[in-house]
Subunit: 556 residues, 2 copies
């Protein structure tokens, strides 16, 4: 897992990709067959421009969070085929000439340029997230790894942002998906990009260590079932929080509190006898973590057993200066149970005179997703933190984002990819793109122009055209103009490059951009599409090329 | 990527997991908080038994392919926390005692036993895929990594098996998912386990190198668009397959054939002029790969341009002793286009007297899945090979399998996990399981028994009971009895362990087992559930425990 160092003379050293399995061989075979065919045809050094973009926002929404850029740059900076890898590639290309191996041996990205929208930005269909320029032989070999690194990263970051949107700013969002993710890296990537998309913490220790993401976790049902009774607890001693007193028998102290709760006039009747193995588990867990006691209360029965047992332990801890954190609910009617638990905590606060007890944190987990959180909101709940796993990390409601990597120019010749499906036609040319902001500070429209067109100017009226639909066009007077593509890699001239900011900063950019979108683009039901356009000049050129390339049909 | 060696004295050295990111930290934090709490309570060495199983077959089907076992054993065999990892864990557990670090330092799996169903087996809900025994402190730390390694592996292997089922035995199935997979490891795992589940090849070069999976791939649309005209082809020389003759101008030779096709009475009228950049790309690609020429024919227009251009090149190659492989279609009406292409090839064979030309391989790709292949079958098609990406590797129609890891016994005391949802109640006790076969050789039922019950006997009538539904039971007279759980890891006594077979053998087991299932369990629509049962004795014991543990409700 040692990151490889960039051996080039570029000055700045960039670590290798997080996952050491990300090598130039993480590639479709056809990239190598094409590299060989380009080389064989003497075309491998032709200057090409590829756009990486997607065609449709995921999850039925109208926005996407761009993520994965840093990993692409790390891959690029360390792009080098080992001798062993070259031998393997040669064996995969029957009949290939030996000199091709020499070509592969010399291959690196010192002649490649990458322009990209900053990671963590809100992005839209058709607008290039990355523009990659360089010799076609090597840029072709970047297609599969870049798509792999961007597709899932952006998808899961968007999913996280959507979960944040529905949960609201005040809730804690915890990613709990490691066990259900698509493989080990699926888990680690999900943890990273869910944090980027606005989550607060993860349960995944490896991701916590790799990326500095806050970690969360308590105990499972197995821990509760592993106890039979409080007799199992041998070491019953608890030092007080201030270290001044010692409770010699914390177990009895808990049991005394349990009786007090039971005989409290407002709480009696809710339960008769609580489960003793659960009480033992909670007590023992509190002895291990008196400062951060948080209990899973649904192993037997939340209201009849889990909550009273938890309160007995929390009250006992309170006597020694420890504040329990709260509970986790992992089954049942989460809206109802969270409200009941809150009532119980508030009654304890009132009846037993424990200030703040009613503010106990209620965490909910169990197959949560956008819809269930939305439903909980509608029913009314008292949940403070959501632990979300499966549906978040596997992007269950849409498991893939369809980013593509299309040739738009080669040898200064613009290229267009036609398709009978108009949404699949590519926008040719080396382009620039801009985000235009309106009076209220919201982004209004993204516009793509030819590379050498003058940029849009603040206060100047500009025609924005839908790239394919001639009737859709609008004049815009931008109040602010932001060029979207910035240079992240320019072969050997790296002093001019954009910095790769730390994950925390990327996350902040993402949260800020999401908050700055016009609300109707963000809503879950029937959101308004954000406008993506081309300049009048680019529009005309696209359609000139299109007519030139498309065969004329013959009706028979 | 160097596999770690197992440093224990177990004799046999087992490589580490394929992905070096699979370390003991690929874990939920709560496994470590529990490990600490077990240790603090002096319970960490209590002998525990956990079952790993799932509750519902994926994809609306009635079977699942078990995969991921080998990676679990590799993880286990190399389970060791580094000092750096231990320091990190300590920092995650505020207030933890220093002596816990010594405990972690000494932790390995030399006291753990793993019994599992062989990898590649067809498996069913509730029956343990793995039974893991050992000190609760360490076994708890295996939960998240094992679930992570088994869940996606089994899911995607099952998805592959389902695609094979609908495509039929005679078709080639190629996994093309690297760019859309959930992260780099999602791609590599998908390639491995799709092969296991019955695919023939992958496009993923890294997976080909790691696992010896056959590789496939040709070229993309970008390759076609990168050419402007045949004038670009500088080196036009082609040596014949037997090395005896040389074609000095292969480009002109191709053009001659294109005219011949155009003037052939039965082919004229289909096209007038084909796209010249496409012709250049095909010609150049054939010069690079004369032995394995396969062209993507849909960049401009399949029937008007792609197919005639391909045929011209294929016929030109044929003159020099090379047999073209075929075409790939990546858009449009695949059923119609494949039939039209086949007709064209057959006409060429007949008209131009080229034996075998009609048998050209037609590969189809473009968002294929079970449903679209089924629809193609119903429409009638001439596709020989399917290239399947997104829907296969991300398991789009169900992106997660819900394997769980439940405590069933500790300190020789059986444990049950109750739930208001009866499908979530766990089956307690250390168990054995058997597959019983009927007269026709098909598996009839899986049965779980207590560990010390006598095994079912061939020819002896046996009562099989549904674990939770008292009215569902059946007598069975097995013609063959197969014990399902085999020992794959037994601490230091590894000479008695089952071998970890090579991937090819696991794949063969999988294909054979799938073919040996009764067809009504396998069909796509309304398949019959396979029966999973417990012995009468285990049934009684489950329900005795259940009544003992469940609180009695009070209607108010």
């Amino acid at each position: 897992m040692e990151p490889k160092e960039n051996g080039s003379e570029l000055g700045q050293i960039i670590d290798g990709p997080t996952n050491p399995m990300v090598t130039p061989l993480l590639n479709d075979l056809y990239q190598f067959t094409m590299a060989y065919a380009y080389w064989k045809a003497g075309k491998h050094n032709e200057r090409s421009v590829f756009d990486l973009y997607f065609r449709k926002n995921p999850f039925g929404g109208e926005y996407t969070v761009f993520a994965g850029l840093e990993e692409c740059i790390k891959f690029l900076a360390n792009f080098k085929l080992s001798d062993e890898e070259i031998d393997f590639v040669r064996d995969c290309l029957p009949g290939s000439e030996e000199a091709f191996c020499d070509y592969l041996r010399g291959l690196d990205c010192s002649d490649v340029e990458v322009y990209a929208i900053p990671e963590g930005s809100v992005v839209f269909p058709k607008v290039p997230l990355m523009r990659v320029e360089g010799p076609v032989g090597v840029v072709q070999l970047l297609e599969t790894p870049f798509l792999n690194l961007v597709n899932f990263a952006s998808l899961v970051a968007t999913n996280a942002a959507r979960h944040r949107f529905v949960a609201g700013k005040s809730k804690s969002l915890l990613e709990f998906g490691a066990r259900r993710a698509q493989g080990p890296d699926g888990a680690i990537s999900a943890s990273k990009y869910c944090y980027l998309g606005g989550f607060d913490a993860t349960s995944n220790v490896a991701a916590g260590k790799l990326f500095g993401i806050p970690l969360r976790g308590t105990h499972s049902h197995a821990y509760v079932s592993s106890f039979m009774s409080t007799d199992e607890i041998v070491d019953k001693v608890l030092r007080s929080a201030d270290g001044k007193t010692t409770c010699e028998d914390f177990v009895s102290h808990v049991q005394t509190w349990l009786k007090k709760i039971q005989y409290s006039p407002s709480l009696s009747g809710i339960f008769s006898e609580t489960n003793q193995s659960e009480l033992a588990a909670f007590t023992s867990y509190a002895l291990a973590f008196p400062k951060t006691f948080l209990a899973l209360v649904d192993t037997y029965d939340v209201m009849k057993s889990g909550i009273p047992n938890f309160c007995a332990v929390a009250l006992a801890l309170n006597d020694f200066g420890y504040k329990a954190l709260g509970i986790r609910l992992d089954s049942g009617d989460l809206a109802y149970l969270s409200r009941e638990a809150r009532n119980f905590f508030c009654t304890v606060e009132r009846e037993l005179k424990v200030p703040g007890f009613g503010k106990m944190v209620v965490t909910a987990s169990n197959d949560l997703n956008e819809e269930t959180i939305d439903a909980l909101n509608k029913q009314g709940h008292e949940v403070d933190a959501f632990g979300i796993g499966t549906y978040l990390v596997t992007c269950y409601s849409q498991a893939a984002l369809g980013c593509v990597f299309k040739l738009v120019e080669i040898n200064n010749q613009p290229r267009i990819k036609l398709s009978e499906d108009v949404t699949k036609v590519s926008i040719p040319c080396k382009k620039r793109s801009y985000r235009l902001y309106g009076k209220e500070g919201y982004p209004l429209v993204d516009i793509m122009t030819g590379e050498n067109e003058p940029p849009p100017k603040v206060g100047e009226r500009l025609l924005c055209r839908h790239p394919f639909n001639e009737s859709k066009r609008a004049y815009v007077v931008p109040q602010r103009v932001e060029e979207l593509l910035k240079c992240y890699w320019r072969g050997s001239a790296d002093e001019a490059r954009e910095e790769l900011p730390p994950l925390k900063e990327i996350r902040e950019r993402c949260i800020k951009q999401l908050e700055n979108m016009r609300p109707d683009h963000m809503r879950r039901l029937n959101p308004t599409p954000y406008k993506v356009s081309v300049s009048a000049k680019l529009y005309d050129f696209i359609h000139f090329l299109w007519l030139n390339e498309a065969p004329v049909g013959e009706l028979q």
